[in-house]
Assembly symmetry: C2
Homo-oligomer: 325 residues x 2
């Protein structure tokens, strides 16, 4: 597997250097310990801090900016950030209103964010993202592309100076109304190895994979995209049907190596499926947001929206990954 890198040991730091050069007017990088943050801290605003392994770009460093995160702590590729990074980010961002830590529900991430929170003298709260419904909806449910709508809506509320406790309530509401499932055609390939982590047979698709290529719900035959997407949508809408309402944010996320034209096909199939069951995609997004280095495939996320959430989603945002006014 060929890659556009200098050396695997400098991959994370140099890709972040590129991001900062691209958005130097609003972002800066704090070195040793490493985190990406806004240039300006808004006084009295709750800080939103996230992070996780690198290799999922633009997540999470590409979500830092007005209307989303205040800081993101990247680990090495597919590796949790360490508590020092998170603690330093909390200290940098704190302006008296506290920090909300947004953490995908992976053991290493949760542990290190907890250590940082518990050893910090600043006020913090933590929310775990648990949108992956491939193995049911329970405490060990992983965090996937659900971070995008979560960060976006929390980001809007934080800009509007919601206090920390209300942001926690909002976060739990959004997580409970979010469902994601992914499928993978080919596995991620990492800078360390220059080869794919594992093989998926040429006529198979891995259902319910995590973003590190963790084996998912089942290995199935590669079918037409409409059929593949239908199998994703059934459990997604089953989770959401526990709530009242039929207005969705529908998000199709590419794992990084899948062409945008194919993602438009996935969106078409997902949207058709929703419509047939009486759901309407009132907000829509297609692109590469939470990726898995060089993996081909996609995930679909649906969030059951209400008026408050729609207003928050529509709030201006200015990041590398999402930008609108």
């Amino acid at each position: 597997m060929k890659m556009l890198i200098n050396d695997h040991s400098s991959f994370v730091s140099e890709s972040i250097e590129g991001l900062i050069k691209l958005r130097f007017e609003s972002l800066r990088c704090h070195h040793d310990p490493l985190f990406v943050c806004r240039r300006e801290i808004t006084q009295g605003k709750v800080a939103l801090i996230s992070g996780g392994g690198a290799g999922h770009e633009p997540a999470h460093v590409g979500f830092v900016g007005y209307g989303m995160l205040d800081a993101a702590c990247p680990g090495q590729v597919f590796t949790s950030p360490v508590p020092d990074q998170i603690q330093a980010a909390i200290k940098y961002c704190d302006s008296g209103a506290g920090s909300l830590l947004i953490v995908k529900n992976y053991q290493g991430d949760v542990m290190n964010f907890l250590i940082a929170a518990n050893t910090s003298d600043k006020t913090t709260a933590m929310v775990t993202v648990r949108d992956d419904i491939s193995a049911g909806d329970n405490e060990s449910t992983r965090g996937l592309t659900g971070v995008v709508p979560l960060d976006k809506m929390l980001g809007a509320a934080a800009e509007a100076f919601w206090p920390l406790d209300q942001l926690v309530v909002l976060a739990e509401k959004i997580v409970s109304r979010s469902a994601t499932m992914g499928l993978m055609l080919s596995a991620p390939g990492l800078p360390q190895s220059h080869s794919r982590n594992f093989d998926i047979q040429t006529d198979k698709v891995e259902y319910g994979v995590g973003i590190h290529g963790e084996h998912g719900r089942s290995l199935e035959s590669l079918d037409q995209v409409d059929a593949l997407v239908a199998k994703i949508m059934v459990p997604i809408l089953e989770k959401l049907s526990k709530h009242q309402g039929n207005e969705l944010l529908l998000l199709v996320n590419g794992l990084g190596a899948t062409p945008i034209a194919e993602l438009w096909l996935v969106y078409r199939a997902a949207s058709n499926h929703c419509e047939a069951l009486g759901y309407t995609a009132v907000r829509r997004l297609v692109g590469n947001y939470v990726t898995s280095l060089n993996a081909a495939g996609c995930s679909v996320t649906a969030v059951l929206m209400d008026e408050e959430m729609i207003n928050l989603w529509d709030f201006p945002v200015d990041t590398a990954a999402l930008a609108w006014q």
Copy 2:
């Protein structure tokens, strides 16, 4: 090569259906002959119409919308649109101020756009995009990612009701100040064949490739990204050095299968190279804009900007590919 499609024969039409579902508030699809256009035609505005083979998404259908194109005519994968499509788009978009046809300099595209223009009873002008400098700067120079800044700046001028003749002058100015070169790590794979068009050896990189995987300037050893990008930047800046000025729009474009983190690394290298030679990237863009189905690699485009061009670049835009206010 695995793909998320139903059938190769419906690939283009269904991917466009997905795009329209995603942006139905502003876009519609005209069927038979096929083109994508805005829902609303602005009276008295010159219409901007482009097109070309499918398989380069989001180009060009993803560039239709406020601030960029009025219509795009997609051919089949890597195949020119036919004159009927272009003629119908000209007729649909015409509001009395004429149409500017923006055509990448490929023989089939140029021929079919010319036939459409010559057999239309509407006023048209045509500009050919010739930004690829891999084989020197001459009449057969191909159009690559240079369409993005060209469509964007022309789109802004058209929204400001510039007349057709002034848009042609602007287009020629932008083309003469634009330079692109690409490199490919792995070749495109098409829905028809489910396999790559050709192989690039595991230790090689193809320099100066076209967006269909046409062989380029040279096959070279896969080196560190800084060295690879330097080889791209030398001929790019050589072309631009013929003009006064040192302010650039610097655009890193992914061919579709290359992770965004690697594109950030490419941006870092390109930006460093420019700075060392006294150029400043006053406007910056990194993403997948003109892709080559399932190909891995990138291209770098630099446009020498002046104040007029910067103002046009900063104009609001609302398309699937670019959106800001």
